[in-house]
């Protein structure tokens, strides 16, 4: 009995770490399947209808909290629609998206900045 308790306690302690690690490949799949790209763009770049979420500043728990009760116009996604683990995977995928170059390092945009 004591052994079982210790085992449960061990995994319980490990769980946040597993969740936080996430699976970026699965996250990429979910990002498209569950429609995140619709407002945020396939590159997470943001647009008229959604914020930029590439290299998101929130940690996984912060992302989960926001998705469950978003402050803006985003729909609320309950755990019946998308689980904590799935959101953690999406978070992991978002961390893999490339950060933008500075506009001054992109010739077409640099031209616009100079004007």
């Amino acid at each position: 009995m004591k052994g079982t308790f210790l085992l449960v306690a061990f995994f319980a302690a490990l769980l946040p770490a597993i969740c936080q690690s996430g699976d970026p490949a699965n996250g990429k799949r979910l990002f498209v399947r569950d429609g995140c790209y619709e407002c945020h763009g396939y590159a997470g770049q943001g647009g008229r209808d959604g914020a930029r979420i590439a290299t998101i500043a929130l940690n996984p728990q912060g992302l989960i909290r926001y998705v469950r009760a978003p402050a803006g116009a985003m729909p609320a996604y309950t755990d019946k629609v998308i689980s904590d683990q799935e959101l953690t995977d999406i978070h992991a995928y978002l961390q893999t998206l490339p950060k933008a170059k500075a506009a001054k390092d992109i010739p077409l945009l640099n031209d616009l900045l100079k004007k």
């Binding site: 429609g35 930029r52 629609v81 933008a100 500075a102 506009a103």
Partner: protein, 649 residues
């Protein structure tokens, strides 16, 4: 005025004796005399295929004498005289039997000039072309359509033009007299009150019963359409009036002189009061809707904004204000003490927030600070209809001036200048640097944001806009499409200071507007030698893609760049929203909203319609060179299309 033409005394020419010559020498039988007495002989209702009797009549030797109905002066010639006085450059139409007389008179009697006939593949395209044309050229393009099935096709486009306050001049064919309807087709295409279908969203209509009546109503309709608030008008051209000769009694027909009404300026006392409020404000903000009807409207708004050092928040319905001006977009309604709304049809939305769709209750909240004053100058207050609800919510304002804003601006500017004392001038000028800094930072933020997803595939809409700008920035260009669905990138990146560089959008958000309105605008730009640029949404093009053929056929130069996100994307997002709300199946949002499987090849579509094309392009590095190649085609006077597979927004 009417053309002076030699008109024969006998308006109906009876070409007597098809077998002329010898037959003419034969004595007339009594039956033939009876025929001669008849004014007109019309065929019986035709059968679908020639029967034995008809075949025999067409192959047997002709009778010695038949009477053939001709005329050298059909009523439609006079109608064309009327149309010429109104200065229409073009008539856009899908052909229809109820206005065949008018069409024949336009192309033959009128020489197919002023108006020149533009062949359209759908009446919705005809009207949307007129919509786009008017926003460039500042005057109506003529549309012709059946009073029944044609108008039914056209109706959504008419509603768009109505909601966008654009003059469109629609002429409907109809056979009013039952005795003149030649077949079951013409019965099905006839209507008692043609314009009733669109009366809720047109400004005026009439169904003249004589040519004199036609002339008067046609001129009146033009005047009404061009008086702010500008809206579509409808004239029914009765087929009998078109096809029957001009009656003897109407030989003294007159075409009334067209005198456009000066647009209504605001009441002087009210304008003075508005000036006082604005000059004494510490943080005035101008919200611009459809202010600039002409290029002068942009100059006037710049003068007012600079006089007050008031930032201008543009609702993106027109080019109202140069987007690189230091006062552009630099203000905030939330911190303003006086808000001036100029031709803003949705003023309530400019001064309120509403809870998003994922909240209960649809709560609305006013965002202006307590005590802030709101002034409106709005021609929409001069008229209105109830059934269609494009008028939006009632907004509580402190001073409402029912007038055309552009016509009122000169007086308002003058009154403001009179009231600005040296002290107020100093206070006003203090705002300038701060606002310019806000505007500069907004610009920088936008450009930095454009870098995100720069190398992504599908191509980001920011990248697409930047690549386009790189190719057109040294040209005299005209953006002829709305840019709502590409996150407004051209408005955030490009330098816009001319009225034709941005003409707004649908009006009533009726999808299917984009492609034909762009073609119509490009048609207007053609004689000015401008490069018309159309960022074309895929869903929109699929309503009536035949307009690509119209562009190719009439050699209308325009650069079409597909925003091919392979979805009715707004609806896709809505379905996602509804599924999330119902806590199920967000992965099914694409059912009924995606445009894939198979993907549509728009380059191939354009080629089928006779247009140069390239694509689909999904590598952003391929886009610039493709645009350059297409632009070379456009510069030669042809349309071109590049299919770009894009990010959703």
């Amino acid at each position: 005025m009417a053309r002076s033409r030699k008109i024969s005394v006998d308006r109906r020419g009876f070409l007597k004796g098809a077998a002329a010559g010898a037959a003419a020498l034969v004595a007339k039988p009594e039956a033939a005399k009876a025929q001669e007495a008849a004014e007109v002989r019309r065929p019986a209702t035709p059968t679908p295929l020639p029967g034995a009797k008809q075949t025999a009549s067409e192959t047997a030797p002709p009778p010695p004498r038949i009477d053939v109905y001709t005329t050298d002066r059909p009523g439609s010639d006079f109608m064309v005289d009327v149309l010429k006085t109104l200065g229409f450059e073009y008539v856009a139409a899908n052909p229809g039997s109820s206005f065949r007389g008018l069409q024949e008179s336009c192309v033959n009697y009128g020489g197919n000039k002023s108006p020149e006939w533009i062949t359209c593949c759908h009446e919705e395209s005809s009207v949307a072309m007129a919509h786009g044309y008017a926003k460039i050229e500042g005057k109506p393009l003529l549309v012709m359509a059946h009073g029944t099935v044609g108008l039914q096709h056209a109706s959504m486009a008419i509603y768009n033009a109505y909601a966008d306050r654009v003059p469109v001049y629609i002429m409907l064919g109809n056979v009013q007299d039952v005795a003149w309807r030649r077949s079951d087709v013409e019965w099905a295409h006839s209507v008692q009150d043609a314009a009733s279908m669109v009366r809720d969203y047109t400004k005026w209509d009439d169904a003249p019963v004589s040519l004199g009546h036609f002339a008067e109503s046609a001129v009146r309709a033009y005047k009404i359409a061009m008086t702010p608030p500008m809206e579509p008008v409808v004239i029914v051209a009765d087929a009998v009036l078109q096809e029957e000769p001009v009656p003897e009694a109407d030989r003294r027909l007159q075409i009334p002189k067209l005198t456009l009404a000066s647009p209504p300026a605001g009441d002087y006392g009210a304008v003075k009061e508005a000036a006082k409020m604005l000059v004494n404000a510490e943080n005035p903000v101008i919200v611009a809707g459809r202010v600039a009807r002409t290029p002068e409207g942009i100059n006037l708004l710049v003068q007012l904004a600079e006089t007050l050092q008031a930032p201008v928040l543009d609702r993106r319905f027109r080019t109202n204000f140069p987007n690189r001006h230091p006062l552009f977009g630099a203000g905030n309604v939330r911190t303003a003490d006086v808000v001036l709304g100029l031709e803003v049809p949705d003023m309530w939305f400019a001064t309120h927030t509403q809870t998003p769709v994922n909240r209960m209750g649809m709560e609305a909240k006013r965002i202006t600070q307590p005590g802030a004053k709101v002034i409106t100058i709005f021609a929409g207050d001069l008229s209105g209809k109830s059934n269609y609800q494009d008028f939006g919510r009632y907004d509580e304002v402190d001073l409402a001036i029912a007038a055309d804003a552009q016509a009122t601006l000169p007086i308002l500017i003058e009154e403001c200048r009179k009231l600005i004392t040296p002290d107020r001038k100093a206070a006003i000028q203090q705002r300038a640097a701060k606002l310019a800094e806000v505007s500069r930072k907004n610009r920088e933020r936008d450009i930095e944001q454009a870098a995100w997803g720069w190398d992504a595939s599908p191509v980001s809409t920011a990248r697409m806009a930047a690549e386009l700008w790189n190719q057109i920035k040294t040209e005299d260009w005209s953006l002829v499409s709305d840019v709502t669905f590409v996150s407004w990138w051209p408005l955030r990146m490009w330098d816009i200071d001319k009225h034709y560089q941005f003409i707004g959008g649908h009006g009533a958000y009726g999808i299917g507007y984009g492609a034909p309105a762009a073609v119509g605008a490009a048609l207007a730009n053609k004689k000015h030698g401008r490069i018309s640029v159309n960022i074309q949404c895929d869903g929109d093009l699929n309503y009536a893609p035949g307009v690509l053929w119209t562009a190719a056929h009439h050699r209308i130069p325009m650069l079409n760049i597909m925003h091919n996100n392979r979805a009715y994307h707004q609806e896709l997002m809505y379905l996602e929203d509804m599924a999330a709300r119902a806590r199920r199946g967000v992965e099914n949002a694409g059912i009924g909203t995606a445009i894939n499987d198979p993907n549509i090849d728009y380059a191939m579509m354009a080629k089928a319609y006779g247009m140069f094309s390239e694509g689909p392009i999904d590598n952003p590095n391929d886009l610039g060179p493709a645009i350059k190649r297409a632009l070379e085609v456009v510069k030669k006077g042809e349309p071109a299309l590049i299919d770009v597979v894009t990010q959703p927004r």
